[in-house]
Amino acid sequence: MTHTDSGSAGRIGAGAASPHGRSSWSGTDDRTPPVFGPGSQFHEFFNDPRWAMAMVRATVLEAAHPQIGAALIDNSTFVAHPWRRLRNTLVSLQRMFGADDHVRQREAARLNRLHARLGGTDARNRPYDAMDPDVRAWVVATLFESAVTMCRLSGQPLEQRAMERLYAEFQAFLAALGDEAGHLPPSLQEFWSYYDQVVEEELENTEAMRIILYKLFDHLPAPPLLNGLPTLWAAGRTVAGPVLGAITVASLPEPFRRRAGLPELPGAQTAMQGAYLAAGLARFLPGGWIKADSVIDLLALSPDSDDPRARTISALRDRMNRAGALIRLITPLPPEPVPGTADGGLQRSAEEFFAQVLDQSGNGYLDWPDLAAMARELAGRLDLDEPEETRLYDAFADWWRELQAALDADGDGRISAREYAAAVPSLAGPALIKVAEVLFDATDKDGNQTIDADEHRALFRTAFHRDTAGAEAAYTRSAFVRDFLSFMSGRRRSTPFDPLLAQA
């Protein structure tokens, strides 16, 4: 990180006087627009459909940073569970840019704890650390620059003042995360030279970037809502995947495209600008039609969640399922029926379970980051604070040691799908039972030794099922542990854990 060493002292000096001091976010002064919440520049963008493309672009630019790329490859679940990941990101952004200061501080603390757990070395043995302030500054920089570029590409460039306001908001975002000022340049003029410098000198053609551009879209699993229509989804994806990839490539900064050796497809520039322009036209739609969070929520809603919208959704899902059934029935038979593709069975094969549940990062191996991703998802849902969060991670870490000792036959430190399939029965050891118990304690917020309806909803986002509730409307420790173990080892479907850990 040579560029910051050369100029950081000057930036810190200037940064102290810049408008992103902590006192200004609460918006006490009526004249200045608020930095966060309704009325801020960011808030205007949040439901903009162009954001979808801008976010993909920003993610690619982040992944092209060697440190972030390595962290993504090792830890992220975006390949195997992109929809869950997208939803979590949106919820987090909403909390960080919302009007409530308390929520923001809590979310910042949670993000910091989460990122503090991500660290390691990349394939070339270079260390990475998700808490590195320069790296975090780059993430914020890509978000800001993508927002500006999104406006430019769709033919509605931001005015200088609006751009400055937006920049101040993103600086405040970084400050809210607790980072010292000075890692982002204090003024917008200096920002552009910082940005160009990173693009030209630091970004690389990383594996994570290639995965996002060329693999993610082509293999994107259907969101839970469209699960019943795999054929339709796959057909749409074959067309849309490469187009999305090409559009994203075309919107990247030219110097980077050259250096990373990304292809220049004929017409991609025009298609990209057309896509941004078309998405930009959505601003003429009536207000409330497009809300990023509700769209994502809707897509991610699990089959039998009892969200208020559940009835409509389940009706919609039923229709989707029926449409899927009809499509499958009327598709001409393939020359040879594929054996073992029975859907909806109660058992799933070891390979399926490995891919859907255990291998959260989707790299074909079970490794600590996969279990950490499970712990992360569970902690996020339960909204855990310290020390419960650490207890949960520790329980998962113990389970990882147990798994490694039992399953890692070739001793390479990770578990392949084959090693797993060969030794499935030993999965339910004492450490896994401990995980179940710690999870029960964390879910049982009031400590009354049963999980009541609200606690159940916090973890599974659904109410009790009519058939499981039966006698009493509570979930006891033994029943919880039994279900968790049968999910993790017996590979039974249709437990409440299924949408929790298996869903895309």
Partner: protein
């Protein structure tokens, strides 16, 4: 649906062509039943004992049924027929066929017209054993078990008692067909072989049934297991 084999033998054809010829009869009878106002039609396609037939014939049947189901699925749905498959628990049922069955059930589950139950890999005794297992698993005390309660644990408990059983080709046996539900059924044994069975034969059987002096005829159909007046 008996007589496919004999039908083929009379024409010096392989048994499989008898099965193939049965397709037309099946579709014709479904249509005839629907237009005659029959609410529940059950077809006995394959019994748990039929697995004893030669491997090649079973294999052929599985492929044939799959083809027939897929071919007629849109039509059945368009006619508002609710389709269900009774049985289909044996692991020997090909996974692809089981999925087509499940798809057809999903597709037509909300239809309000006639309910078509296809007994495939079905055995009446096995259903009764399953109900007993389900009662024991549910921890129902012995005193609480009566006919109604028992019937509620059979597969598709909403199926009413069978009123009329038509067995083609002159065979006069029950052959393990829906044993619980046929308790009060009337039986008709037309001599015609199944591949030749058509709508007029079906209506004739209905007519015979109407002539029968049924003790419980004329009142609303009794629910499965409900005590009789």
């Amino acid at each position: 649906m008996d007589g496919n084999g004999r039908w083929a033998a009379q024409r010096s054809l392989p048994r499989t062509s008898g099965h193939r010829a049965a397709e037309t009869a099946v579709i014709d009878v479904i249509e005839a039943a629907r237009s005659a106002g029959v609410g529940w039609l059950s077809l006995y396609a394959f019994s748990t004992e039929n697995w004893r037939r030669p491997h090649a014939e079973v294999d052929f049947l599985m492929h044939l049924v799959r083809r027939v189901v897929r071919k007629h699925a849109p039509l059945l749905h368009a006619r508002g027929i609710r389709c269900r498959f009774l049985g289909v628990t044996d692991p020997r049922v090909p996974a692809a066929l089981a999925r087509d069955f499940a798809d057809l059930m999903t597709l037509t589950c909300d239809n309000r017209g006639m309910t078509l139950t296809v007994a495939f890999d079905h055995g009446g005794r096995r259903d009764i054993v399953e109900a007993a297992r389900s009662l024991i698993r549910g921890g129902v005390p012995a005193e609480a078990v009566d006919e109604e309660c028992f019937a509620a644990h059979l597969p598709f408990p909403d199926t009413p008692d069978v009123d009329l059983v038509i067995r083609t080709s002159g065979e006069q046996r029950i052959s393990n067909f829906m044993l619980w539900q046929v308790a009060y059924a009337e039986w008709v044994f037309p001599p015609v072989l199944w591949p030749d069975f058509r709508a007029p034969h079906f209506l004739e059987c209905l007519h015979t049934y109407q002539q029968r002096d049924r003790r419980f005829g004329g009142v609303l159909p009794h629910q499965n297991g409900e005590s009789r007046p």
